[in-house]
């Protein structure tokens, strides 16, 4: 974990209530896809945990949805403003278990961490499929970016405005894959859990106090004992999760 001040070098709207922020600073503590950063905002006591979308050479990209006053404040911040950021938090995804052709499943604001994961898996020579799930067309982002990485991309929308009408699992059912990685809402997780044909890793969300393992605010029970979502997670393996 690293604490440092990062400078905003980009902050733009990319979909309905969804923003992409790029930050410049020390990113050395971010070592794996699926980790997160915890951002201090003036006027708010607790930090905002946001997953890492991409990170290289001192440049960090995060994609966040405006869901409350804190993310609203973030969306209003200008280029050049500075943020106190704790970085390199969480365990991240383990790519060693992916096999030759993993599938990545992102739902809504669960899509961003899939980007850095996709990049890593492709750099390891794997054949990556990505399923992106959204409610409707106005929420969609990231499709071209995943294609540029060389992944085969599938989109599902609940209203059928783009891609497969329905849920990510409607796409997943027809695919062959060696392993799965996912991040998104709990309802999507339980649907995936019902139909997934292989082992996989889920990245969980929880209200956090500190984000670095001190307060026990985000504990959960697993088959391997109690874990803290922020420190021992947010990524848990399918085999250990108690639903």
């Amino acid at each position: 974990m690293n604490q440092g001040v990062m400078k905003i070098i980009g902050n733009k709207k990319i979909a309905d209530r969804t923003y992409c922020m790029t930050l410049e600073g020390d990113t050395s503590a971010i070592t794996k896809p699926g980790q997160f950063v915890n951002i201090q905002l003036e006027g708010f006591f607790l930090r905002r945990p946001i997953s890492v979308c991409d990170c290289e050479d001192g440049k960090l990209t995060i994609i966040y949805k405006v869901v409350g006053n804190g993310t609203q404040k973030m969306s209003e911040m200008a280029i050049g403003e500075k943020l106190d950021v704790l970085s390199g938090l969480g365990n991240g995804y383990d790519t060693a278990k992916s096999g030759d052709s993993p599938v990545l499943i992102g739902g809504g604001v669960g899509v961003p961490p899939m980007y850095m994961l996709c990049k890593k898996l492709i750099s390891e020579g794997k054949n990556v499929k990505v399923i992106l799930g959204f409610n409707c067309e106005s929420e969609i982002f990231g499709v071209d970016e995943f294609k540029s990485l060389g992944a085969e991309v599938f989109v599902a929308t609940v209203d059928g405005s783009v891609g497969t009408k329905g849920f990510v699992t409607d796409v997943l059912n027809d695919l062959d894959y060696t392993y799965f990685y996912t991040c998104g809402p709990m309802l999507m997780f339980t649907a995936i859990e019902r139909v997934a044909k292989t082992s996989g890793q889920y990245s969980f969300e929880e209200r956090m106090g500190c984000g670095f393992g001190a307060c026990m605010g985000c504990s959960c029970k697993t088959k391997y004992g109690n874990k803290r979502i922020c420190k021992d997670g947010p990524v848990l393996e399918r085999e250990e999760i108690i639903w």
């Binding site: 708010f44 006591f45 930090r47 956090m208 500190c210 393992g213 001190a214 026990m216 504990s219 029970k221």
Partner: protein, 304 residues
């Protein structure tokens, strides 16, 4: 410049103590900085049996603070002794403060007796003020005779200084502090969190699964200063002040109110380096207010 203080017969290099529940068992913070620069720290509240604690969400944000309802998650006293303390020993060479909670007088005595025998333990901080568990913790700290009963039972089976950690969720905290002192307490620490609640406007339901929780952070600092001021004048044993402390200035204010040492809680959760920063900035803050020896200012605001 003197920052050393005496806490119940044990010297602290400085009065800065991370509070229980915000610092784990120390070793994870030792990866961030050398925790030997602290006065000491109070480790995660320990009970006789292992506890998972409350369901999540356990955390709610507030203006200038937060609510937690963790519910005393801990591995139980046996594992604290066999696993946590050995890990701590590798990175901390000072006496540690053992924080203990229970659901009956016997449980408090059992857990304290075990921890009292550990050479790493310097003090026992007896938490009779946890607002997040039913039938335990705070129910002992809101009644003078129950608090005294816990104090007597722990005192009877221990040799090390016992410090009773009190709840602010009472009408007369002085009465409870005096009852603990009369029953043999060697020190008093206050305040634990204040009972609070937030409601999610979209869901129209409490944010926290346990409905209510303990409110802490800078918002409660003035209440903590007031209660430390009241209690320190009424008892003849050392008082540890806590509640919203986030800076060296806050440490000095707590000591002027009557605190011999000061605990820092919620601030650790937003800035993991805050206690290091406070320790390092203390001499500068002392110079600013013309303080050569912190011992000279303990209770300095009394009889004003």
């Amino acid at each position: 410049m003197v920052t050393k203080v005496d806490l119940c017969g044990i010297e602290l290099e400085n009065p800065v103590i991370p509070a229980s529940g915000t610092f784990g068992f120390g070793y994870e913070f030792a990866e961030l900085y050398d925790i030997n620069l602290l006065g000491t720290f109070s480790f995660k509240g320990t009970t006789k049996e292992p506890r998972f604690g409350n369901p999540t969400p356990r955390i709610a944000e507030c203006t200038a603070g937060m609510i937690n309802a963790v519910g005393l998650q801990n591995p139980g006293v046996e594992k604290v002794i066999s696993e946590e303390l050995p890990k701590l020993k590798k990175c901390f060479n000072k006496p540690v403060m053992a924080n203990v909670s229970g659901f009956s007088v016997d449980e408090y005595a059992y857990t304290c007796e075990k921890l009292d025998k550990e050479e790493q333990v310097g003090w026992l901080e007896v938490n009779v003020s946890c607002p997040n568990v039913h039938g335990g913790g705070m129910s002992f700290g809101t009644d003078p005779s129950a608090a005294a009963e816990v104090t007597r039972a722990v005192k009877a089976v221990t040799t090390k200084p016992i410090i009773l950690k009190l709840s602010p969720n009472v009408t007369n905290i002085v009465e409870i502090a005096k009852a603990c002192e009369d029953a043999g307490a060697n020190g008093i620490s206050l305040i634990n969190t204040m009972l609070g609640m937030r409601i999610d406007l979209r869901r129209r339901k409490p944010v926290i699964a346990n409905v209510m929780g303990g409110f802490s952070g800078p918002a409660i600092f003035p209440i903590a200063v007031r209660m430390v001021y009241q209690v320190a004048q009424a008892v003849n044993i050392p008082v540890i002040g806590m509640g919203g402390v986030s800076s060296a200035d806050d440490v000095i204010e707590m000591m002027l109110a009557g605190a011999t040492a000061v605990e820092i809680g919620a601030a650790n959760l937003v800035d993991p380096f805050v206690c290091k920063k406070i320790v390092e900035s203390l001499p500068e803050a002392m110079a600013k207010y013309g303080i050569n020896d912190l011992n000279e200012i303990i209770g300095g605001a009394h009889n004003g």
